[in-house]
């Protein structure tokens, strides 16, 4: 079925779903910072523990969470391999021709893996899986609203995001359809050098562009018919309110960040060189 992990809201009644979307945006940024702060084994263990707690809190099926990791699999493998070979240290484990693997390299590679997994899982649990696209774009609109002072089109930006989140799955489905249609006409997308391959994309991109413009045109008419006139005078179905739980979540995450910093300093075990 659909494999696009963008904006894959999963409806459920969990504490994460109930948090205010604006708070969740801030929390995910904090959490991402934490994944980059972590330096030694203890800190990374704390990260993994925090991720597992989030997984448990979110009530989202594991297979969905794994699906979020799939698109970054290549980046993960790539980063891990680079770290494995590039890191120089004191304990040489293996050496062949110019390739050397140090124990430190293994540590660094695993740390990077953990960092990417916790980053992706943490931010999808805090944002995309537990926040509807509208809540998300409303939150961004509200967080960016101070920029209105500089006459930046904050509402328009949020509306663009809303529409993009809605249409990306449709367009990716359409791409697959067009590719199949071209395959049925004998186009092989997997042969030839890079130039040939790029050339074979042209018959996909042109129909895709044509149909996107038609969609955009129809959507614009439909939006006008529904009395859309930009952000002025608009109200919202749900007005977000900060609750005590949002404060608690923020405090917990700040404590967690402090904990990571302390573990970096006082924890034992291997510490990342970079």
């Amino acid at each position: 079925m659909k494999t696009v992990s963008l904006g894959q809201y999963y409806p459920a009644a969990s504490p994460l779903h109930r948090l205010d979307a604006r708070m969740k945006v801030c929390l995910s940024i904090l959490f991402i910072v934490c994944t980059f702060l972590a330096k030694n084994i203890c800190a990374f263990a704390a990260l993994v523990a925090a991720m597992l707690i989030l997984v448990a809190l979110s009530r989202i099926p594991l297979r969905l969470i794994l699906r979020a990791v799939r698109p970054v699999l290549f980046i993960m493998v790539f980063t891990a391999v680079v770290n494995l070979f590039v890191t120089k240290g004191e304990n040489l484990l293996f050496s062949w021709w110019k390739l050397q693997i140090f124990r430190e390299g293994i540590y660094n590679a695993s740390f990077m893996l953990v960092r990417i997994i916790t980053l992706v899982v943490g931010s999808s649990l805090l944002l995309t899986y537990t926040t509807t696209p509208i809540q998300l774009t409303d939150a961004i609109e509200s967080l960016l609203s101070p920029l209105r002072v500089f006459r930046l089109p904050v509402h328009e930006f949020a509306m663009m995001m809303t529409i993009a989140l809605r249409f990306i799955p449709l367009l990716s489905e359409e791409t697959a359809k067009i590719m199949n249609a071209q395959r049925a006409r004998g186009v092989d997308f997997s042969v030839g050098g890079p130039v040939r391959r790029v050339q074979s994309l042209v018959p996909i991109l042109i129909p895709l562009f044509v149909s996107s413009f038609r969609r955009a045109d129809e959507l614009a008419t439909a939006m006008e018919c529904r009395c859309y006139r930009g952000g002025k005078g608009r109200t919202k179905m749900t007005i977000p309110h900060l609750h005590a739980r949002d404060g608690v979540a923020l405090v917990l995450l700040l404590l967690f960040g402090t904990g990571i910093v302390l573990l970096n300093r006082y924890g034992y075990g291997y510490t990342m060189t970079r």
């Binding site: 018919c225 529904r226 608009r234 109200t235 179905m237 749900t238």
Partner: protein
């Protein structure tokens, strides 16, 4: 000022193409009363969509009178606010269900219209719940629109309009991209709205069986009204339907063929059941003679 809900007189509309004026509607006159359920038939390119867009203020007429819900759309100096006021009253359902939904989650999309109108939050919630209940989509309030069937998406689109409480609903071939089940869902939703909420419906279609269920059928042909009457009146004129480039419904074709053979059939059947009934009755009468 006219009395009718929709008042159209000698309406002319043209598109400009390479500097040449191509007339699309060439003198149309019709009046539609509040609460009517009107089907508009016509072959491709006969000007149905153009008429729909005129009724909604998307296009402006070139000549003639055009009043919709008390707004004079033939006034060339009509201002944006009046068009806006008109569009609160006139909902428009388009052909492609994918290209009229704005938000990903069903209830958030339904809320889009009332949010644009500046309705207070609590009332939006009420309107959304009510609209979803009216189209039978309450169970899908939190669902992703991409996971719905075509018929369900169209019902969400209709709910999005109901939430703005319009008095007129225009459907431009809203069932054309749907399977038979989706078509029936949408038609029944519209019929319920018309019957229970008193919403006036103008339904553009080229399915004869959908038109047969309307109160009134208008046949457009090359920018002119060829016929305007009850479904029975319209479907009793197969020659006119053929001249308009339309299919003749099977039961009409059958009864007319039988009559041409000298079999006396009473009335004009609109559905297969009615048709079967009058043919059976005629058969039985023949047998008893």
């Amino acid at each position: 000022m006219s009395e009718s809900f929709i008042h159209v007189k000698d309406l002319v509309a043209a598109y400009e193409e390479n500097g040449v004026n191509v007339p699309v509607l060439r003198g149309i006159s019709l009046d539609i009363e509040k609460g009517e359920y009107v089907a508009v038939l016509g072959h491709n390119g006969s000007g149905k969509s153009t008429l729909a867009k005129l009724l909604n203020g998307i296009l402006a007429p070139d000549a003639g009178e055009l009043f919709v819900a008390g707004h004079d759309l033939s006034n060339p100096e009509i201002d944006e606010d009046e068009i806006y006021a008109l569009r609160r009253e006139v909902g428009m359902v388009f052909q492609n269900p994918d290209n009229q939904l704005v938000a990903t989650i069903v209830e958030e999309d339904v809320a889009f219209g009332p949010e644009n109108l500046g309705v207070p939050s609590a009332e939006i919630r009420e309107r959304v719940d009510r609209a979803l209940a009216l189209v039978g989509m309450s169970d899908y309030a939190a669902a992703d629109t991409n996971c719905l069937s075509g018929g369900q998406k169209q019902r969400v689109a209709i709910a999005g309009l109901i939430a703005m409480s319009p008095s007129l609903m225009i459907c431009d071939e809203a069932t054309a991209m749907l399977d038979p089940i989706g078509r029936r869902e949408v038609i029944e939703t519209l019929e319920n709205l018309n019957r229970d909420q008193g919403v006036t419906v103008v339904m553009i279609t080229h399915y004869m069986n959908e038109a047969a269920r309307a109160d009134r059928v208008i046949v457009l042909d090359d920018g002119k009204i060829l016929a305007d009457g009850t479904p029975r009146e319209i479907f009793s004129q197969p020659e006119m339907l053929r001249a308009a480039g339309l299919d003749v419904p099977q039961c009409t074709a059958l009864t007319h063929a039988l009559r041409a053979r000298g079999i006396d059939l009473p009335g004009e059947p609109l559905s297969e059941e009615e048709c079967a009934e009058i043919v059976c009755r005629a058969w039985r009468e023949r047998w008893t003679k």
